[in-house]
């Protein structure tokens, strides 16, 4: 079987779960003898394939911006231009015989639809997030929603990363639930390091990820227990968050790391004592699996897809900073809790393999060819 996969990011260039997913999925499929041409935008840094069944084909001349939802109008304009150019170029460049086209999220949908029409083959769309998630359900942008809806309508099958996302696709985009398959994400285990008294937030600093709730929680914890709170990542909320930390009087206990390399991300997972994911809206949340695989007990938002499938973690409403602080303090105080949760969750995480994701995805392909 040969698949044309249209992506946006691929390790080492990645900013989110999308790139991680594409890497894991393509390798899982390649191991099952599926051939994949992975199309992605041309980057300054060259991306190389490390598997004979995966060919990476870079399209485009200019650097494009990361998967995000820029607030800045000027950057935003350039970003949309880049997306359009990528999509147009892709349609003209794509060649070869494929069984299925597989695309990911709105960035690649225009191209995928055009390619489907050009080559007359079935289209699979994986929904990693929707505009509703990215906006934190506040003023979602109709322009994105329209692109997403068109892609969802034209796709022959949709893969959603969680039941939660499936519901959004059905209820907000009016898509027939019968053509949607839920495939939960997976993780390449990171391995444990020597733990320090750090409590970690990691993700884009946007409304969607809820970093302000992390800071409010930090304040409540620090009234009772000592710890350092790490905010790893960049995003448009950074200045506001720095201000908030000062305002709460905890800036000496909060570390903003800025952008981290992949190695640095692994390191920070390894040395953190607790990982907190207070997302307002999170279709899946691979970072929770990554943190656990590094032996870090994890607290996730109830509005994260991962909370549907992961048993050995705390699940809290993102706005309930009292409860989040309660869990963090308990993890800091009670060794038995920390140890039991770490061990049980590490065992559980072994079930989340890319092989499983690839197998389920392959079943979707097989239903189409």
């Amino acid at each position: 079987m040969k698949i044309a996969m249209i992506g946006w990011e691929y390790p080492p260039f990645k900013v989110g779960g999308l790139g991680t997913h594409c890497y894991g999925l393509t390798h899982g499929l390649a191991d099952k003898n599926v051939h994949i041409d992975f199309y992605m935008p041309k980057l300054r840094q060259k991306v190389k394939s490390d598997n004979k069944n995966i060919h990476i084909i870079e399209v485009g001349e200019s650097e494009v911006y990361p998967y995000d939802r820029p607030d800045d109008k000027e950057i935003g304009g350039k970003f949309f231009d880049a997306v359009y150019r990528y999509n147009e170029l892709l349609v003209s460049r794509i060649k070869g015989k494929y069984d299925v086209i597989h695309c990911h999220d709105w960035l690649t949908m225009k191209a995928a639809i055009a390619v489907k029409e050009k080559l007359g083959i079935p289209l699979v769309l994986t929904v990693h997030s929707t505009e509703y998630d990215r906006s934190g359900w506040i003023y979602p942008n109709q322009w994105f929603i329209d692109i997403e809806r068109e892609g969802m309508q034209k796709a022959d099958r949709i893969i959603a990363v969680s039941e939660f996302t499936k519901r959004v696709v059905v209820e907000k985009y009016g898509i027939n639930p019968d053509k949607i398959t839920v495939v939960h994400n997976a993780v390449y285990p990171i391995g444990e390091g020597e733990k320090r008294n750090l409590i970690l937030f990691l993700g884009r600093l946007t409304i969607q990820k809820g970093p302000e709730f992390f800071l409010k929680t930090a304040k409540k914890v620090l009234d009772y227990e000592d710890a350092r709170f790490v905010i790893a990542g960049i995003g448009d909320m950074l200045p506001k968050l720095i201000e908030q930390a000062v305002h709460l009087g905890i800036s000496h206990k909060v570390i903003f790391t800025g952008k981290l390399t992949e190695e640095e991300v692994k390191h920070i997972y390894k040395i953190s004592s607790i990982y907190v994911m207070p997302s307002v809206s999170e279709p899946f949340g691979i970072t929770a699996l990554e943190a656990i695989s590094a032996g870090t007990p994890t607290i996730v938002s109830k509005s994260a897809g991962v909370s549907e499938v992961l048993k050995n973690c705390f699940k809290v409403d993102f706005w309930d900073t009292d409860e989040m602080a309660n869990k963090i303090i308990a993890l800091l105080r009670y060794d038995s809790l920390r140890d039991t949760m770490t061990q049980s969750s590490k065992r559980e995480i072994q079930l989340f393999t890319w092989d499983r994701v690839a197998e389920r995805t392959l079943q979707v392909y097989r239903g189409l060819v």
Binding site: E323, A325, N326, A330, Y334, S336, T340
Partner: protein
Amino acid sequence: MPSICFYFEVHQPFRLNHFSVFNIGNTKDIHSTYFNKNLNQKIFEKVANKCYLPTNNLLLDLIRKYDGRFRISYSLTGTFVEYCENYKPELLDSFKELFKTGAVDLIDETYFHSLSGLYDELDEFEEQIKMHRQMIRRIFNYKPKVFRNTEAIFDNRIARKIADLGYKGILTEGAEKILGWRSPNFIYKAVNANLKVLLRNYKLSDDVGFRFSARNWPGFPLTADKYANWMSNSYGDVINLFMDYETFGEHQWVETGIFEFLKHLPGEVLKHDSLDFATVSEAVERYNTVGEVDSPWAISWADEDRNVSTWLGNNMQIACFNELKDIGRKLKRRGDRDLLYIWRLLQTSDHLYYISTKGFEDGNVHAYFSPYDIPYDGFINYMNILQDLKEKAENR
């Protein structure tokens, strides 16, 4: 001619309130901050209406219909009786009515359904048994001859203590660990005490308790005549059917036909000349022991493991258990009766059961009975409350 010993465990715990770390040291009225009155009352009334009252009525009818040839035994925990006295005195009256028939026996246990039988010293265990004894005397004017420990937990140390307290028999699980190749359908003697041991026939008991409504079980659907036939083909002196009373109408809903099954069972059993019913006291009196059981380590009727790992299987449970014991030592030195009572309510084994992380099949059973989404939530809540009580024990 095997005698069927039907024994029902009747228990309700006092479930806890949400109690966060911010509540520690800030509690005034302890009872209402620790225990979730509304939830507890709601659950109790629900179970009373679905299970306790209809099952009592049915069993009373059956005892009368068969003129006392249908005989059963109960144990009621102290916390259950407190629920009755607070919310449904008519339920307690109905148990009295049953007892008056003469076909019903009562069994003693620890008042608080606790794990005090596993503490380093057995003084607390003994006190809780005496509390239970007093309660049964007060309500039923009766002195039980047979004892059953919380969830049938049994070991040699417990056996000796129970013999010392004057009991003639004890109930526990028919676990291979102590029986080996031997059948549970006989009465054995505890290796180190003059005490008869009645062993649960877990296959036949669980056919009703767990598998009754399981469609993928070859025995499904279980009818009274089929079940009576199985028992008439059993060899031995006794067939010990020990189960939670909540099996009827709560674990197995009315829609499963469990009440119809129960209604027809005595008639079907009594069709066989080889079968009759006996209370546990009667069984202990009637049959001689055929051998000894030696249980250096504790067994129980819980989960597939049939040991105490259900309550003490992970570090969180052990941490709470140790904390609980430690608080008890402090409180006993101070002799504060109110705090001692609260501490005892917290000893109810259910609190530790909710913290079990045993996976898969057993874990699903735990999840069904737990008020918490995950055991970790149960731990934090319970441990936070224990920390608050500890502060009080140290400062008062």
